[in-house]
């Protein structure tokens, strides 16, 4: 019947395929580049200090 057809199939609805991704972004390339420059500076200071 129409009523029956209108009923959502809860079992399949809760089992539908989905694609997830993290809300958080990984560190940006620029941020990583800054970290790398600071690391190199620190290592140079350690070497000569």
């Amino acid at each position: 019947t129409c009523k029956e057809q209108a009923k959502p199939n809860l079992s399949s609805a809760s089992d539908k395929k989905i694609v997830l991704l993290p809300c958080k972004n990984p560190p940006s390339r620029d941020r990583v580049l800054l970290w790398l420059q600071a690391k190199k500076q620190y290592e140079n200071l350690q070497k000569w200090g």
């Binding site: 809760s14 989905i18 993290p22 809300c23 972004n25 940006s28 970290w35």
Partner: protein, 210 residues
């Protein structure tokens, strides 16, 4: 030969451990090979008896670990159909998608300890393929970033919620533009079939990257 089910001996956990360890190495290597981050943050290590490049940037390493920590319960219950490493341009449109398609048999036949060594050999072949994949891919535009997608079922997300780290590392349903790429070029990289897991890796590359 002993045949056991996924429930016995917590074998799902063993498979998830093996796959997550592999995915961690694979993600680091993809980021290095595809130049998502400066090469200076990567150090040469040995995994699966082959040289690989692993990041030494603490925040990036933590991000990859947290991502895999959340995916692990899905793999454990055989609920992660695909894990996809997406490389995006500055406008956050995907330029490359490294698709790891995973399937696990419901029954596991374990013959001996040689099994794990066999799996290691198969995973090594994936690592070697990733390390040379730049030869078959076009250069990416500057300023790319990445994300990790997991293809699962709605009901399976309950398993994810049990993980403590999810509170500080929440997940959302991906938009269509993050999932699909228009007319991608498909590059198969590697397929493996073992007693505990079947996996194939292919790359979807956007035709026009710039």
């Amino acid at each position: 030969m002993t045949t056991i089910t996924r429930q016995d001996l917590n074998f799902g956990q063993v498979v998830a451990d093996i796959l997550c360890e592999f995915l961690e190495v694979a993600i680091h290597l993809i980021l290095y090979v595809r130049e998502v981050y400066p090469s200076g943050i990567f150090q040469k290590r040995k995994k699966y008896n082959v040289p690989v490049q692993m990041s030494c940037h603490p925040e990036l390493n933590q991000y990859i670990q947290d991502t895999l920590h959340c995916i692990k319960p899905l793999i454990e219950k055989n609920d992660a159909e695909k894990v996809v490493v997406v490389i995006m341009d500055k406008e956050h449109h995907p330029v490359e998608r490294f698709v790891f398609e995973i399937s696990q048999p419901p029954l596991l036949s374990i013959s001996s300890d040689a099994l794990l060594s066999h799996v290691e050999q198969l995973l090594r072949a994936f690592i070697l393929k990733i390390s040379v994949c730049d030869a078959v891919l076009n250069n990416n535009p500057p300023g790319c970033s990445f994300t990790v997608l997991v293809h699962t079922r709605d009901a399976a997300t309950r398993n994810m919620e049990k993980v403590q780290v999810i509170k500080d590392f929440p997940w959302i349903v991906a938009d269509e533009q993050e999932v699909h790429m228009q007319e991608p070029r498909l590059i198969p990289l590697k397929t493996m079939t073992s007693d505990i897991v079947k996996m194939q890796l292919y790359v979807e590359e956007r035709a026009q990257k710039t």
